[in-house]
């Protein structure tokens, strides 16, 4: 049985194994620094589909299919799916995954959906409800732009704090047995609102949520940043990352040496014109499933925290002038022999 530690944190006692991971991405992501780690790169981001929504669904489908191949199992071996995306009513997930006939939980946590899915899957497996679970999340620049911002061909200006929605999908297989990195602890996030309204400054809106969750985790467990090779947030971008470090320093937690942000890892931020870095459900999903998972597997990293952050706004709430409530879910991943 899992053990609650402190107010928010869950320690998993059964080894919840991350048995395999896969990532499929678009052109810009494929041209970025993580080029070599992705399983599929699409230079045509329509994926030959008739709409960008269908393209994003196809991206999820592909991430799942590649994951099955890499793990050497069939969809019928999967007990359930936790999937999500940014689009209204999570259509990328339902349209992309419906063919597999695997029980599906559609989840929404904006860009935090990926770690939310990992956390829920681990809880379900720990509870003995199934053998294997898959988490898939995606985002697509073109679907997010038309839902949250402007038409693609509109000549508007990107403000200097804006972030770039990643065209990417990531999928992870979790199991009760087998080898591989293990999900050893998790801290679910709470909705945090520090009054930021600017939908073009998501990093600033989300940083307090990440700070709250990270603070809760360290307080609950008594661990410290030095215990980790990496504390990866996703996706605070340049502005949010700086704010997060400042906020945590006020609570006497210094993560400046361990911290990196998935939105900053996915792109060469300056060279690729992504302003403040990447964002979207597919950003931390693909960075983790491709790069971080590989590093854990190869023993280059042993212990990391993945803190995906989500801005829980909708086009309606933005138009009605509401604040941007945010959330951050944390999972601890341990590779190799029994960790600390």
């Amino acid at each position: 049985m899992a053990v609650r530690k402190g107010n928010h944190t869950i320690l998993f006692e059964r080894p919840i194994t991350l048995a395999a991971a896969a990532a499929a991405v678009g052109k810009k992501e494929g041209e970025g620094p993580l080029h070599d780690y992705f399983d599929r790169i699409h230079t045509d981001t329509t994926l030959h589909e008739k709409s960008f929504e269908r393209a994003e669904a196809a991206l999820q489908k592909e991430a799942f299919t590649v994951l099955m191949t890499k793990a050497g199992i069939a969809p019928s071996d999967v007990s359930f799916l936790f999937a999500g995306d940014l689009l209204n009513q999570c259509i990328s997930s339902t349209f992309g995954l419906q063919d597999f006939s695997v029980p599906l939980f559609g989840i929404y946590g904006a860009c935090s959906t990926f770690s939310e899915g990992l956390l829920l899957a681990a809880m379900a497996l720990e509870g003995g409800c199934g053998e294997r679970a898959v988490v898939v999340t995606s985002s697509h620049f073109c679907t997010a732009e038309r839902q949250f911002r402007f038409p693609l061909e509109y000549g508007g200006l990107r403000t200097p704090t804006s972030q770039w929605t990643a065209t990417a999908a990531g999928a992870v297989l979790l199991g009760q047995s087998g080898t591989g990195p293990r999900l050893t602890a998790a801290t679910p996030g709470i909705v945090t609102d520090y009054g930021v309204k600017d939908a073009n400054n998501m990093g600033a809106a989300m940083a307090p949520a990440a700070a709250v969750t990270i603070g809760n985790f360290f307080r609950d467990t008594g661990r410290c940043p030095e215990d980790y090779d990496l504390i990866a947030t996703g996706d605070l971008g340049l502005v949010g990352s700086e704010l997060l470090i400042t906020l945590l320093k006020k609570d006497a937690i210094d993560i400046s040496r361990q911290h990196n942000d998935c939105g900053l890892m996915l792109y060469d931020v300056k060279g690729q014109g992504t302003t403040c870095g990447g964002s979207g459900c597919g950003c931390s999903a693909s960075v983790f499933s491709a790069y971080l998972y590989d590093q854990l597997k190869k023993g280059r990293m042993h212990k990391l925290l993945l803190v995906s952050t989500g801005a829980l706004l909708s086009p309606t709430s933005t138009m009605q002038g509401e604040n941007i409530p945010c959330i951050a879910h944390l999972v601890e991943i341990t590779a190799g022999k029994e960790g600390a």
Binding site: F52, L152, E153, Y154, G155, G195, L247
Partner: protein, 147 residues
């Protein structure tokens, strides 16, 4: 975290980079000026073809709108706009782009509720409030004329 919203707002301001206002203004000035100069060239040319003021003015607008939409359809407009900012937005070219871009974008939702309805999603308010403002002016003129 012991932090008020006001404190956080200050932190956000510090951390957020400002717009490069000088560079943006220079881009807006050069491109906006160039579009207006092109308009001047067109109107001068149309006069020389013997058109009257109304026809030449209207045809100048139509030409600039056609050019802007052509550039939008060829995926070039937004690249110019990246450099020009308000320089392409404020002239009639920005109005044209704001109609063509949603029309193209929402093609996937069909020609009636996609293209037809969404065409005015950005330009609509310009027409609504421009027209209403001019009608208010008309009523004022009537009242003044009636006195």
């Amino acid at each position: 975290m012991n932090l008020t919203q006001n404190d956080y707002e200050k932190l956000v301001k510090q951390a957020s980079p400002n717009s490069k206002i000088l560079k943006n203004c220079l881009g807006a000035f050069l491109v906006g000026g160039a579009i207006c100069t092109l308009g001047q060239g067109l109107i001068t040319w149309y006069y020389s073809l013997g058109m009257d003021k109304t026809a030449a003015g209207a045809l100048t607008s139509i030409t600039l709108i056609a050019l802007a939409i052509l550039l939008t359809a060829f995926h070039v407009f937004d690249k110019i706009a990246k450099f020009a900012g308000a320089g392409t937005l404020v002239p009639i070219t920005g109005f044209a782009n704001s109609m063509a871009s949603p029309a193209m974008e929402f093609k996937a939702e069909g020609f009636i509720l996609g293209v037809g309805a969404k065409m005015f999603s950005i330009a609509g308010p310009v027409i609504v409030y421009g027209t209403v403002a001019s009608m208010i002016y008309g009523v004022i003129l009537l009242l003044l004329g009636g006195m």
